[in-house]
């Protein structure tokens, strides 16, 4: 059964129980009220009977007219009370019927008593005396019987009140017991159908979070939680398959890395040695036999030397790229502003003839690997230095801006810039935005920069336009800017 169905059943049962209890309490209360009305009426009847007996025997003793009138009045009142229809139950209605009969008989006897003694000419004195004595005795008996019947009536009403109260208590206790049973059943169902499976799922998520992808919930129920558990097991199976695939890929990658290292070793050692020989022997030829060669021969040797040196630089750059990827990160707090100033100074020293204006914000700190960050900034600043060579008033800026609510660093220049249409290949290895004749370079620098930032899980992006300079943004997770934020002059 579905949990929602179970919940509906529990809710309906609980509400039904409450309605039932309320109805039964209402019914029992109505019973108590009806019985109480009967009790009041029984009391009125008892009082009327007492009055009737009083005035009847006052009349028997002294025959006052006042007592006769009072007897008639009380008998009429008693008749009215005894015609009450509120005693519908068998026992009280029997008592009431008996009371009516006796009241009628008593009134008849009293009426006979009203006749003047000796009124019957045929009756002798003794018979008259016996007759009156019999009337009086019978009247007394009827009053006694009526008193007993009235007591019975009162007993009935009292018993009915007691029974109604008893039923009320029974209904309340029974209702409470029913509620307790309903609550217990609901609690048991919730425990069995919800809490226990949820605990199992909680255990499952904990196990899976801890890496135990072999954990299975194995809940057999067919409700929502059962379906969720089966989905969870399916998801765990899929995750396990994915992780196994990733593990296999990692093994393959590790093997590839080893091959890459072997390749790098070969490049660094096996390729560089012949290059050095080519460069060395070309230099020897120029120095030892330069005078024997014509201009074209010397030019060819110079070209051989330049090509071998350039290839050496390419190999160095490639090795650098590989190193950047493999080097273990040692993340710590780094003063980026100081690092930029240091690089700017070295660039200025390298080409003192150039006039470049540096604007470096103070107090920029980031958490990064110092060595790798230095390589990345070196590349970015060298690019800025290089591409502003033709600018009349070269300007290189380093600072921070707010990007999507967080500070981002930037390196901006007013150099030649590039077309954003080719931005997708900006960070690719050996990708160049300008011809090597215009701006020398290997095309590896920005690829290294991107890898360094990716290893720091930092984002890097660029914005530029031909002739308007270029700005490179990078954002570490917790770039710290000591100074007050300021606007970015590059836009």
């Amino acid at each position: 059964m579905k949990i929602s169905t179970t919940g509906r059943i529990i809710t309906i049962t609980t509400l039904g129980t409450i309605v039932l209890i309320a109805a039964m309490v209402g019914w029992a209360q109505a019973e108590v009220s009806a019985a109480d009305r009967q009790r009041v009426r029984a009391g009125e009847i008892t009082r009327a009977l007492s009055d009737l007996r009083l005035v009847s025997f006052e009349f028997i003793l002294h025959r006052p007219e006042r007592a006769r009138l009072q007897e008639q009045q009380t008998a009429a009142h008693l008749d009215l009370l005894l015609s009450d229809g509120r005693f519908a139950q068998a026992d009280p209605s029997t008592s009431l019927a008996a009371l009516r009969d006796r009241a009628g008989a008593a009134h008849r006897l009293f009426t006979e008593l009203l006749a003047r003694p000796g009124g019957d000419a045929d009756a002798d004195v003794v018979a008259e005396r016996r007759y009156l004595a019999q009337l009086t005795t019978r009247l007394l008996l009827q009053h006694q019987e009526m008193a007993s019947d009235a007591l019975l009536l009162a007993d009935h009403t009292r018993a009915r009140i007691d029974a109604a109260r008893g039923r009320l208590i029974f209904v309340i206790l029974g209702g409470l017991a029913l509620m307790a049973v309903t609550t217990a059943v609901a609690a048991w169902l919730i425990h069995c159908k919800v809490l226990r499976p949820v605990r199992r799922i909680e255990e499952g998520t904990r196990e899976v979070a801890a890496g135990n992808l072999d954990f299975r919930l194995n809940l057999a129920s067919n409700d929502e939680i059962g379906r969720m558990a089966r989905n969870f097991d399916t998801m765990t199976d899929a995750l396990r398959s994915s992780f196994e695939q990733i593990e296999r890929s990692n093994h393959e990658l590790a093997a590839l890395n080893k091959e890459m290292e072997a390749f790098s070793y070969s490049v660094s050692h096996d390729l560089r040695a012949p290059l050095r020989s080519m460069d060395g022997f070309s230099l020897s030829l120029l120095e030892d036999y330069g005078d024997k060669l014509d201009d074209e021969g010397r030019d060819s040797l110079v070209r051989i030397r330049n090509a071998s040196q350039r290839m050496g630089r390419l190999i160095d750059e490639l090795l650098g790229l590989a190193r950047v990827t493999r080097t273990e990160l040692k993340v710590r707090q780094v003063d980026l502003s100081a690092m930029v100033r240091e690089i700017a100074e070295s660039l200025q020293q390298r080409q003192p003839e150039r006039s470049v204006q540096w604007r470096i914000d103070d107090g920029i700190e980031v958490r990064a690997d110092r060595a790798l960050l230095h390589i990345a900034l070196q590349n970015l600043l060298e690019n800025a230095w290089k591409f502003t060579v033709r600018a009349d008033e070269a300007l290189i800026q380093v600072g921070t801006v707010e990007h999507e609510g967080q500070p981002a660093c930037f390196v901006a220049d007013n150099g030649v810039g590039f077309d954003m249409a080719y931005a997708d290949r900006l960070f690719g290895a050996f990708q160049r935005m300008h011809h090597e004749n215009e701006f020398p370079g290997t095309g590896i620098g920005l690829a290294i920069v991107q890898r360094i930032f990716h290893r720091h899980e930092a984002a890097i992006w660029a914005h530029s336009a031909p002739g308007e300079g270029a700005t490179f943004y990078f954002k570490f997770r917790d770039t710290h800017d000591e100074r007050s934020r300021q606007g970015h002059p590059a836009g």
Partner: protein, 351 residues
Amino acid sequence: MSTPPKDTGLAGALPWVRRRFVWRWLVVVAVAAAFAALALSWAERRKALPPERLSLAVSTTPHAALLHLAQAQGYFADAGLDVSVTRVSHGKAALDLLIEGRVDLAAATEVPFVIGVLEGQPLRVVSSMLSASEELAVVARQDRGITAPTDLIGKRIGVTFGTSGDYFLWAFLTRHKLRPERVTLVDVGPGSMVSELLQGTIDAASLWQPVRRAAEAALGPNGVTFTAADAYTVTHLMVGQASLLEARPAAARKLVRALLDAEEFARAQPRHARAVVARQLQLDTSALEADWPLLEFRVDLRQSQLVTWEDEARWAMARGHARPGLVPNFLWHLHLDALEATRADRVTIVH
């Protein structure tokens, strides 16, 4: 890595599951054992108490209907009594058996009881069983010039002396301001009453049911019946010897309990009750149905009965059924314990 437990049913269940299963069965077995022990204990207790023997003298009239019902429906046995019933024609005969010591208790009307008390018998009333106001009647022959109660003057009226019929006739005559001395009373047994009427040895008779109906049927159009509901309400009593009731109060309580059960049965299932009584008394069911509404079955002891008994005592002494003397204190002739212990609300005697 650990492998989670699987739901594999009881066969592959964990030990705690098996323990719970065993515990459930243990609880079921324990409850069943408790019920069995209770049932055995109850049966043993029933077996340990043999039914108490009691002999009753009961008239073969509907007035003793509660006793006949209790016997037929097994209420005596349910109350723990082993009752032997001696059937007699009327209550006075039953009381005679009691006085002779041939039975433990007798069902009779008030008059024989009152006369017995006046004669010095140590009788005690355990309870009343039945009241009737319109059952007793004077049935007369019209061909003897009787069409109204006053016509009875100078006539021979058959009556069983010392019975409720005797007292009723006196009350009837008084109700009509007639001196009983002005009629001739003839002592006739209930069994001879109809034939005496038919033969004309008596002009009228004071009768109770079912003799009254037989007389009315026998006389046919020649008969005339006079009743006097306001003159007398006859009550039938359960009477015992004082010595027995003092010695065996539990037996009286059981008897009252059986009578109350019979009363409840008669009230709840009147048709069934009438059928049972008719079968017991070998009466015509239709005749019993006519009489039944006139009978008020009620096991009680009422204060008004004391007044009636005292009146009857005065009458009995005046009639010569007993030696003249003081009216006895009938409170001393009540055995209140049985009814008070069983249904105290049925006792309205001031005591």
